[in-house]
């Protein structure tokens, strides 16, 4: 591995990453002289971006539904068609992905949704608050 490659890795980890050590294994799997970090890191970053956008879209979609007079709880299955309508088919999220986003919002350290234990949820924060909570949580971890 060249020094320039290692420097690129440092910069990636510092500015764009970090990624997990299991992902960093990709840097060692191909034999030979490595002059740059693997392009596969971009795939992981795109996935990160996809899930961040999902969180934002889920929150905005529910908020918009509330503003239009929704007064009942929602499930992941109900949110999916609302997301498709809102995105006009440009972005597709699976029901599983939406459920994962809701699980994250329901995490006790975030408390972004209230769950009545019947898979129906009510969103109780907006995305600006979520962003602030995540920063607070990150600072407490770090």
């Amino acid at each position: 591995m060249t020094i320039n490659c290692l420097i690129r890795w440092i910069e990636f980890h510092d500015v764009i990453g970090p990624l997990g050590l299991d992902t960093y294994r990709l840097m060692f799997e191909r034999p030979g002289i490595r002059h740059d970090i693997t392009p596969q890191f971009n795939q992981i970053i795109e996935a990160r971006s996809h899930y961040s956008k999902l969180l934002r879209d889920v929150m905005d979609t529910i908020h918009e539904a509330y503003q239009h007079g929704l007064t009942r709880s929602l499930s992941a299955a109900q949110i999916q068609p609302m997301l498709i309508m809102r995105q006009r088919g440009t972005v597709f999220y699976t029901e599983d992905e939406i459920q994962q986003a809701l699980d994250l919002l329901a995490y006790p350290g975030i408390q972004g949704i209230l769950d009545d234990n019947s898979m129906q949820i009510d969103l109780v924060i907006n995305r600006q608050s979520l962003s602030k909570i995540l920063i607070v949580v990150a600072n407490q971890i770090g």
Partner: protein
């Protein structure tokens, strides 16, 4: 979520290659705004560059490489004695753990012209590491060094 995504990338295909090997050419290497480097990253980069030319103190390069991999999240152990690698780098991930034995090479002109594959393999086996890593400013010496690296 990421674990699932990564598992998908690494899923072997029918011909024995992996999904990420096939998908890789579709992606360019990531673009990075280096003006956003933290002071620690900037320090590591400067030290790495200087150490790679400092032949009076090979230990400096070994310590720089150890520090860099610690920054990247690995556990590192500086070895550096005769008959062993320079830095043992460990990713302690339970059942997914792996180890790398690294040799850090400093050269006045920055060019590493030879690689002793048998020695590297000996170091790797001694530490029971999955991977061998040689870090140098650049590699030259034609096909022989490439062949050794490919092994």
């Amino acid at each position: 979520m990421f674990a699932n995504y990564l598992a998908h990338l690494e899923q072997p295909s029918r011909n024995g290659s992996t999904a990420h090997n096939i998908a890789a050419p579709e992606y360019e290497t990531p673009k990075i705004d280096t003006s956003k480097n933290s002071p620690l990253a900037a320090h590591l980069i400067t030290e790495l560059q200087k150490a790679s030319n400092d032949t009076e103190s090979p230990r400096r390069m070994e310590l720089a490489v150890a520090e860099v991999f610690r920054f990247l999240g690995f556990h590192t152990q500086h070895l550096g004695k005769s008959g062993e690698g320079d830095v043992l780098i460990s990713a302690n991930l339970g059942s997914r753990s792996y180890k790398i034995i690294a040799d850090a090479k400093s050269r006045q002109d920055g060019k590493l012209k030879t690689l002793d594959g048998d020695t590297l393999e000996g170091h790797r086996q001694k530490e029971n590491a999955e991977y061998s890593l040689v870090v140098a400013q650049s590699f030259s010496g034609g096909g022989k060094i490439i062949d050794t690296a490919n092994r």
